[in-house]
Amino acid sequence: ISYIILKLYYRSHLELREITNIFYISLTAPDAQASKFGSLWPLPQKVQISEVSFKLTSSSFKIVDAKESSAGPSCSLLQDAYRRYYEYMFGSTKKLGLSKSRRTGPSELTELQVWITSPDSECDDYPSVTSDESYELSVDLPFAVLKAPKVWGALHGLETFSQLLYEDEYGAKSVNATTISDFPRFAHRGILLDSSRHFLPIKVILANLETMAMNKFNVFHWHIVDDQSFPYLSRTFPQLSQQGAYHPYTHVYTPADVKMVIEFARLRGIRVIPEFDTPGHTQSWGKGQKDLLTPCYSGSKPSGTFGPINPILNTTYDFMNQFFKEISTVFPDAYVHLGGDEVDFTCWRSNPDIQLQQTGIILHPKVCFSFIVKLLDIVTTTNKGYMIWQEVFDNGVKLKPDTLIHVWKGNQEQYQNEMANVTSSGYQTLLSTPWYLNRISYGQDWHGYYKADPQDFKGTEEQKKLVIGGEACLWGEYVDATNLTPRLWPRASAVAERLWSAKDVTDINDAFNRLSMHRCRMVERGIPAEPLFSSYCPREYKGI
């Protein structure tokens, strides 16, 4: 009803609360209500910003390894990051060296020293769920110091440092003396992209990895295949994409593409977890792999359509074995997502061969069990851990204790109950239900994403600790390269803060002010992050 009233009375459809609240704020000068935390996003755990400010110039400022650092010039991950953040802060300036002999001013900050404190910097490793992402940042003269046990924390610290920079009224880059001590609240902070409903060109995936790093996300959940298309080019089974992709050459991810994504992500401290969802959501698999899917029957004859993967043929498990062996070598992460959601039993029920195996009792969830159980065994032999959607747990399948249960269903009450159930059974879990970002609506829906908290459910402290984080999901039915980036950002940034910052960081007005500036920073870095409300950025998006 309120919608109709608004539609009738407000031509430009402001929401009432916005008219009274945010609209007023956004019309006043931007600095009038700047957060005391500036444009920091997500908010670090501990921040102290003083009034003392220093200038930085592109010609004299450097990011260097601290002498004591366990990572030296050979750590290309860090060298790469230094250059990236230098360019974010000063633009890809060509003025370098112009005024080398210029004397630096008395309150000029000329150096950020990066100090990896633990003997093993993990520079050449892949990040994992147990990676130490903490860092400490001290901005002061004579130089700023970024201390982190591992390179992963250093990456986050560099992002934070770049967020402390602002322009004074003369346009000079400045930074205030600051002390920050920071670490993530949750270890698993992910974004799901779906490259099956629509193919996503590599360029789009890389741009979003870049943006994820700006928001301290650390998991790219790559929902790479599904019913609609199979763009993953498998070395072992090339016919899967040959037949199952939208186009066998232009709409596939070659091994080189996948490698590039994984390395690009690693350099930003992001894990890549691939999802190969079975036994449902596999229509596209059937095109290139004969006898993999269950033939559906109408009456006593095959209807010509196919259902989920055929769980009763030995060939199915031979295939799965070889396929997941390949996946385990291509994707270095310790986890693989096995899906297991939304299995439609009608086709299995219609198939007489499956009915026979069921010894007359038609209890099809059990078919699903046996398939999943065998699949889990197969994946276990590849030394991978697995993530699965909540249905597998709901159906009572026996799972390894280190299985991650991915909660995605229901309303708030239902998902909170599910989190309670999963954790009381001792499993680790992560939450996606409130963060289905593909579902769009008019207005500032980021408020809802911001308010959801994965630990808000009835349970003991022990149970709460089993929540390892969450994922924002951007399912692909209505999303491709044309609209993905503005639909994801800055809405996903709201999730980023919930997963990184302390639980009590909940002031929505302060968040609005910081997020507005953060989105302008993303725009300035070339990311078309959409606006939160009527406003402007000093430098608008130019990539039209």
Binding site: K7, A207, H251, Y478, P486, P528, E530, S534, Y541, I544
Partner: protein, 518 residues
């Protein structure tokens, strides 16, 4: 007149969006070779080489027709030439498109030649767009067009898109890109909601303080006079009118920053509260200012129409102000503030009439003020179908022309295929006589700017606005099925993507050439 051969793979006319009024097509197809493809003027044509509109259109459409055309070697075999011969009845090459400009065209494609005949260059531009959409490539990249006869004209004269450059500033480049995409869907009016409460980006030569104080930024977030001229001339070449809106007396907060005494000071009790309301309707200086401003606007914008806004006026500030109340007394308005608003609007309409401009106002004006000048157009923006249908009926009964926007508030997003709702609108489905129905001059897709700027404008606008474009151009009976529109619109959106427009997907699927940006 229509003959469908729905079993065929490539039907030229089915690839055309919006659907032409009448067409026959066959399977007979002719290869097109970019090396031997020419545009030319018919002998009888009133416009000949040197016609700015058509010369630039030839250039533009060559690249749109042959997107892969790059190297000369690739097309070494020059076989039979193909000529697109354009003939128009009037030499209106240097004019601006007007409300009554004919956009009718006939297109006949046969072996070696396409004849495009139109009354005006604007019709010819629409015909070129149609032709460009009929050309397709086979799997080997060769271009073809099928034998076709088309007779086409728009159902409605006014087919507009509103962009709001006040709530967010849109760089000129974003506006030009939108004009390109508008031409692809045969839209013909760019309604430029250029200023509003949040900012005043229009740089006035008479009142430069309006933008220097009222814009988000006085240097980077403004439209200079040359920006505006550029938009107008770019639009002209695509056969698009530019309709500026300077909305008053409400929606004017940003005006007040650069023009003191323009807005009504609001009072708390007997003292000014420091805040300001709508334009102050009681001061003579207000009308002097408006007269000067509209004089400038009238000369900058060549269209014979101007949008005066007039919506959502909040009376509480007027009520609080003792001078306003005294004025009400003096004028005998009693406590009826709609009379004051009517008084204001009447003055503004008289100003613009004296400048030879026809006014368009939001429907609110009619709601409180029925005796506005005969030729004023009412712009319907409120409510659900029952509500706007009643309003259409009521306003047309009073003999006023109307423009429908209510069902096409495209800034409103929701999950799923909302284009279906935009497609199934029936602008003339309200109770009224045939004469009344004729008073519906068209419709407009509105993209209000609260949540839209250059980062997300394009995918939010396209292809959703294209659904409305077909409703406004094509025959309603031939385009009554939303399900048969679906695959055509999917094809069309891939065409938009191929042309570099960031048009978002309608549903799962793919385009042969995906969008290559980020």
């Amino acid at each position: 007149k229509k003959s469908r051969h729905s079993t065929l793979n490539h039907l030229s006319f089915e690839g055309v969006w919006p659907l032409p009024q009448a067409f026959t097509s066959s399977t007979e197809r002719y290869p097109l070779n970019p090396q031997a493809f020419y545009f030319g003027y018919g002998k009888q044509s009133a416009a000949q080489q040197g016609c700015s509109v058509l010369d630039t259109a030839f250039k533009r459409y060559f690249s749109l027709i042959f997107p892969d055309y790059s190297s000369v070697d690739q097309w070494a075999f020059v076989d039979k030439p193909f000529l697109v011969e354009v003939s128009v009845d009037q030499d209106d090459c240097e004019s601006y498109p007007q409300e009554d400009s004919s956009e009718k065209y006939n297109l006949s494609v046969c072996e070696g030649k396409a004849s495009l005949k139109a009354e005006t260059v604007w019709g010819a531009v629409r015909g070129l767009e149609t032709f460009s959409q009929m050309v397709y490539q086979d799997d080997f990249g060769s271009y073809f067009v099928n034998k076709t006869e088309i007779e086409d004209f728009p159902r409605f004269q006014f087919r507009g898109i509103l962009l709001d450059t006040s709530r967010h500033y849109l760089p000129v480049q974003a506006i030009l890109k939108t004009l390109d995409a508008m031409a692809y869907s045969k839209f013909n009016v760019f309604h430029w909601h250029i200023v509003d409460d949040p900012s005043f980006p229009y740089q006035s030569s008479t009142f430069p303080d309006l933008s220097s104080k009222g814009a988000f930024h006085p240097m980077t977030h403004i439209y200079t006079q040359s920006d505006v001229r550029r938009v107008i001339s770019y639009a002209r070449l695509q056969g698009i009118r530019v309709l500026p809106e300077f909305d008053s007396p409400g929606h004017t907060k940003s005006w007040g920053k650069g023009q003191s005494d323009l807005l009504t000071p609001c009072y708390r009790g007997s003292t000014p509260s420091g805040t300001f309301g709508p334009v102050n309707p009681v001061l003579p200086s207000t009308y002097q200012f408006m007269e000067k401003l509209f004089k400038e606007v009238s000369s900058v914008f060549p269209d014979s129409y101007i949008h005066l806004g007039g919506d959502e006026v909040n009376f509480s500030c007027w009520k609080s102000n003792p001078d306003v109340r005294a004025f009400m007394q003096k004028m005998g308005f009693g406590a009826d503030f709609t009379k004051l608003e009517a008084f204001y609007i009447e003055n503004i309409v008289n100003i613009t009439s004296a400048l030879n401009k026809t006014s368009i106002v939001w429907q609110d004006v009619f709601d409180y003020h029925e005796k506005i000048p005969e030729d004023t157009v009412l712009h319907i923006w409120k409510g659900l179908p029952e509500v706007y249908q009643t309003e259409l009926s009521r306003i047309t009964k009073a003999g006023k022309r109307v423009l429908l926007a209510a069902p096409w508030y495209i800034n409103h997003i929701s999950y799923g295929q909302d284009w279906r709702n935009y497609y199934t609108v029936q602008p003339q489905n309200f109770s009224g006589t045939e004469e009344q129905k004729k008073l519906v001059i068209g419709g407009e897709v509105c993209m209000w700017g609260e949540y839209v700027d250059a980062t997300n404008l394009n995918p939010r606008l396209w292809p959703r606005a294209s659904a409305a474009a077909e409703r406004l151009w094509s025959d309603e009976k031939q385009t009554s099925s939303v399900d048969s529109a679906f695959p055509r619109l999917q094809d069309f959106r891939c065409k938009l993507v191929r042309r570099g427009i960031q048009a978002e997907p309608l549903y799962v699927g793919h385009c042969k050439h995906e969008y290559q940006g980020v």
